[in-house]
Amino acid sequence: MVTESPETEQQLKFERGEPWWAKSLKWGLILLSITILFYAATVLAEAGHWLFVVITAFVAMGVLIVYATRRCVPFKYLYPGILLTLALQIWPIVYTVGMSFTNYGYGHLVSKEEAIQAIEASSVRQVEGSQRYGLAVAIPEGQDPATGEIVFLLTSPDGSINAGSLDGLEPVDPESVQTSERGRITEADGYTVLTGSQVNARSVELSEFAVPTESGGIKMIGLSEAFIGEATRVYDASSDTIQDKVTGQVFVVKDARFVPRDGVGSGLPQGWVENVGFDNYTRALTDPQLRTGFVNVIVWNFVFAFLSVITTFLLGMFLALLLNDPRLKGKAVYRSLLILPYALPGYITALVWGSMYNRDFGLINELFHLNINWLGDGTLAKIAILITNLWLGFPYMFIVCTGALQAIPSDVREAAAIDGASAFRTVRSIIMPLLLVAVGPLLIASFAFNFNNFGLIFLLTGGGPFEGGQSMIGSTDLLITMAYRLAIGGTTPNFGFAGAISVFIFIIVAVISYLGFRQTSALEDVN
């Protein structure tokens, strides 16, 4: 390898001869992305998300390695794609799986410390029989507003005025103060009344500040009111319980929240996030309501996705074959008309069809003088959904098939005709196999889409009708709409449980897609 081949040399020359603008554009883009990443890192660091800072740093290093050097040529193309896949596909999946092992959901959003804090903070009440004071926050005259010793100028309901500091209350001569129209003290001899901004600047300090009195600490409410308030529920770390000082009730920890020890009454609403292991999965598999409905829902889910694909494909292909006939005139008009249902937003179509199926006021029953309970009967509702989805889905299949048909060379068809094949035979044995090669993967994609066709079901029937005196499992529910209702829609949102159900659906769809794509690669052998 002593002699370099002339080609390599030429190539090197070419690289050296990179025009100046391309070079500066390249380095400009590299600099720009590094700057953006650096900015993102500072923002993340400021918010204390150190893991993300590290990840950002790695991404930036990757940018430098891949684009600033001449190495890693394939990576120059793959890098953005890989990053986006990781960020938008892999990360959500990993996160959902992680979350499915927790009880994360409404009522369990925060850590235990934060929950206890919230419980104590929301239990602060005015001490029975104590009075309310008018308030002005002040500091002794001459001190710096930012650091001066805080004094509450308190006006009692009887008009007497006291200055409250950490040492307690001290009377103030009412003559020495000036008040606004609304009775707020604006000036006082010997004190500087703080402005709103100055109070704001010390709000953390003020939220802790209390003037000690015999019946409790006087705390500020807003800027112009103060009262003697105390937390009526207090956490005891040694026994891990919360005691209500008014009722004497003791709350103990159970299922990541506090419940009454004696079992009487409701638990405290504020709970915390906790690892629950496989509980969400066990619940998804053993919940009696779920178990009875699950099988039906899965069966219908497959039937729905399968029939949707088949019906739309057959109708779409049929129309495509008709309109592909060279003898037909005005094809463009027909084709545009047929694409219309596809051009309208699907959710509008679903809502319109929903109202057309109405038993008493719907267009379908009125037009044909029928009294069919379209959406009120399980089987009929399923048929209604398939009809609507046929309407929504055939234009897509029509477009796809038209495209694929035009790609089939006409000599194949002519050859079939010469050999004496009937029209049906030509379609079945010649056109279909060729068509399926092109359309097969799209059918799988369509199946996967319909398998999770949340929008249609949600807007048309909402999963209903609900038969047999319950409201959890509807006759037209897909796994996805059922999961949505169980986990988020019909009850207090429970993201952990939703995560577990999502994982199940993910596995099912993944298996189907895998089998499906294996099947299509078999189809390709036709060629």
Binding site: R182, S197, Y347, G376, G464, G469
Partner: protein, 451 residues
Amino acid sequence: MKRTTRAVAVSAAAALLLSACGGGSNTTETPSSTGDTASAGDAAENTAEDSAAETDVEAAPADDAESTEAPVRDANAELVIWADNDRAEALKEFAKQFGDEYGITTQVQVSTDVRAQFSQAHTVGQGPDIIVGAHDWLGEFVQNGSVAPVPLADDVQAQFVPESIEATKFDGQIYGVPYATENLALMRNTDLAPNVPATMEELVAHGAELVEAGDADAPMGAPVGLVGDAYHAFPWLDAYGGGIFGQNADGGWDASKVIIDSPETIKGAEKMAWLAEEKALNVNMDGTAMAAMFAEGRLPYMITGPWSTTGAAEAGINYAISPIPEFQDGGKPLPFLGVQMFYVSSDAKNPAMAQEFVNQYVPSADLQMAMYENAGERAPALLEALEEVSAKDEDLAGFSEAGKGAPPMPNIPQMASVWQPLGQATADIIGGDDVESRLKDAQKEIVANIG
């Protein structure tokens, strides 16, 4: 780090659940007085007032009424309020006045979905100091520790409609200051039904006559739909003292006492079944169908709230509002009372300022009047403002009369487990199911859901 990851987690779960769902799925399904049921009316209102909103030059880019993105808190503002479009408009003047008085900068931002956007922003510590919203969000907020108690003085409490103050309480503690109330009432087409019906029986009889004569398509309308509507069915259920939850010692709702299969509730539901027999209630009638029928002048009576008045007026229908009539045997259908209120975030940057605003500014007749005029003409919660408004607004006087003694909608988080099963049960009963056994099933389902 944890907080961000959690926010990511929520969106991740939602994304996975909804990823393959195509467009246009509406993700907020929790029925509430101001969520679902009001949405039809509100939507109409909003379109009418959109043009007004667009002329607002003061609003930050994030305040764009068209945008559904959550507002972004301005780091320099010392007091930030989130409200929906109309309410934000009405509040700007007062926020500015407040800012001037205390020498601070204030900002009122438009949030298209206050409840969800506040919850999300609060989780990552970027929430506003004050939000404006319905009282039935309270249980969820307390559960998530996202709002702080508002120690409203006794004399200030006494200036409000008592039920509205009750509605702001959770576990005996006040969490906000109300500014408006709303409830269902009977709205009648005065051309078809000139007189206020004395009883439900009379109403149904007159409605049936109109249908017979071909002047109407149904004797009465109420939103039901195939999955039911517990909010609109509640007046029948509580007519004889029944309802959803029993009360605990301090007057709050007790989630451990579900009374859906109690004899009182069953008696009310029997009346509901009777109304269905008389075609006054119908599972094929939903809010949209009802509103359309009323607007065509083919419906003499409907059970609805203040959100329907705009649509009826625009359709040129002469209408009047009155309480839902009693049954002949004395059963009195009372609707839920919904209350609109100001909440203070538990994570407020400046809790003192936020408390000052809700304690001192919200209980003023000026603010309550401004909210009435600019934010949907709901009845003010402050007695002084209510009296002033009732004298000149007949619709509002009617709704306010219909809401007398109405129980506040339960604001405990367990309510989320009730809407759907109870709604379905009412739909099934209206569709002809046996009342007692269907309510027993609903009771079982709801108790299991609450867990």
